[in-house]
Symmetry: C2
Subunit: 333 residues, 2 copies
């Protein structure tokens, strides 16, 4: 597999150097592997810190900025960041109002962020943690006890980030983040595998004419393999898996929807897939208030897509529409 | 090749339906294949209309909105829009201040937009046209007499769009667009081919261990094939091709830079490549004022990248920084 890289061991550092060059509004610490808002710590504001293995870009570093994250800690590709990264990010961004760690549910991430939280608390930083475990496809995967954290992370970071930006205290931001995490459901489909720089080739085989349903964002196995399906059929399987897990479409409450590309699927196809997702949701009686289509929580060069639904209310809609200014998500100011 | 589609002949219509669902701020006319600003025609404002074959998303429909295009006309995949599409888009967006067509230099596009311009003028619409022909790799390709139009289109649409939004008259917007088109140079590299829905498979073969330099955005042949190179080496070849064509780095004038993904190359790799592009530019004595990294002018699921440089001055920097609010490019408001 050909890659646009210098060497596997340099991929993350090189990307951070390139991010620094493109985004003077961010402080990129290549050595300590963190990306921080230039205006951090923001006086009186709760800081949001996230991170995880690299390979899911723009998640998380692309979401650092006004109205979303204060810092992100990228690990090596598909590898958790070390506790020291998250600890440094917390102390770099804490204004005294406390730090909320947004953690995707992978065993290494949970352990290392927990350790970072302890280190931060030892330094007098008030810290809390929210776990994102939104993938309905499988429980207890290769990388996780319990559900995997995937696309729901974007909603937690955006909505809790907006609340923090508006001055909510730590307890409120934490409760809101937990509420959003609980309101999110995701389901992913792979049409082709991803290739990691270290391996230099595909992480799994997916025969011609087959797709894999319920895939994770590291090429973990999903629920089942089936013969290739149309976009309409994939939308039906996906939406029905999400609604089944939710116990049916919510009555009187709209969804926020993310129709997400895994990396190598063209935007043209993602928009076409979105048409089918919206059709199926409407047929099932679900109302969608906002939809985001694009590559936001990826798996390197995997071909495929995922759908995340977040049950919303007036408060969450207001927080969604609040200004955000990051490398990958930007509106309202 | 597995694709997230319903059927090859439905790809563009499906994508437009999905775009309509995700972007209520746009008027998407699926039947007539055009995407228009909801507030068009904007009183007193010159309208910018572009379009071309689909498969390069977010170009052009993703650039419709405040500060950029008034309308986009998507053709079938890698196929020029018909004259009627561009004519309708012109009459839908003309406020009386006139219409500027932004046309990438492909034989079909040029013919069809010229016909649209005649039709529009017959209806009393003042119309002008700017041709983008920024690809330094080859002259007279499969699809083109002269240089191909690629990444430079983004700069023409952004900068002329900003001037039009600020109320500049047609002659000024046209002259500015022409100046920008002349100031842009692009060069692309393919690591893997793209697959079109109609063909259902790769449009060309690229053996393991080789890349193709000077590729176009439809899988057209480039300058040469070579053994696979590192990101650093690809950046050197690319930047040197651009600077050679410019007659060396400009003295005292900065570049706007686009480090663009062709579709399937992960953002992680594009940022790492940007680090090398910036290094080489600095070593050659060039100054970069603004850099955009991401998938903006793509070729379906092609793996690879392109670099566009636009020689700027104070006026162009101001226009670059001016507010823009589109599906794919958004800042400043």
């Amino acid at each position: 597999m050909k890659m646009l890289i210098n060497a596997p061991e340099r991929v993350v550092a090189d990307a951070l150097r390139g991010m620094a060059a493109a985004h003077p509004e961010l402080v990129v610490d290549v050595e300590n592997r963190m990306v921080v808002r230039r205006d951090a710590p923001v006086s009186g504001k709760v800081a949001l810190v996230s991170g995880g293995g690299s390979g899911h870009e723009p998640l998380h570093a692309g979401f650092v900025g006004h109205g979303m994250l204060d810092a992100a800690c990228p690990g090596e590709v598909f590898t958790s960041p070390v506790p020291d990264q998250a600890f440094r990010a917390a102390t770099a961004t804490d204004s005294g109002a406390g730090v909320l760690f947004v953690v995707k549910n992978y065993t290494g991430d949970v352990l290392n962020f927990d350790m970072a939280m302890e280190l931060a608390e030892d330094e007098g930083v008030r810290a809390a943690r929210v776990l994102v475990e939104d993938d309905v496809a499988v429980t207890d995967s290769l990388f996780t006890a319990g559900r995997r954290g995937t696309g729901g992370t974007l909603f937690v970071e955006k909505l809790a980030g907006a609340a923090a930006e508006q001055g909510a205290p730590l307890e409120t931001v934490e409760a809101l983040a937990r509420r959003v995490a609980e309101a999110c459901r995701s389901y992913g489909v792979a049409l082709g595998p991803c290739s990691t720089p270290a391996k230099g080739g595909p992480t799994f085989d997916l025969p011609t004419g087959e797709l894999e349903l319920g895939i994770g964002i590291h090429g973990e196995p999903g629920r089942e393999r089936r013969a290739m399906m149309t976009a309409a059929e994939i939308a039906e399987v996906t939406v029905d898996a999400l609604l089944e897990d939710l116990g049916g479409p919510p009555t009187g409450r709209p969804f926020l929807a993310l129709v997400n590309g895994m990396g190598a699927t063209p935007l043209l196809e993602l928009y076409g897939f979105n048409a089918e997702v919206q059709r199926v949701l409407a047929e099932r009686g679900a109302v969608v208030a906002r939809t985001l289509v694009g590559n936001y929580v990826t798996s390197l060069d995997m071909a495929g897509c995922s759908v995340t639904l977040c049950e919303a209310d007036e408060e969450l809609l207001r927080l969604w529409d609040a200004p955000v200014s990051t490398a990958a998500l930007r509106w309202g100011r």
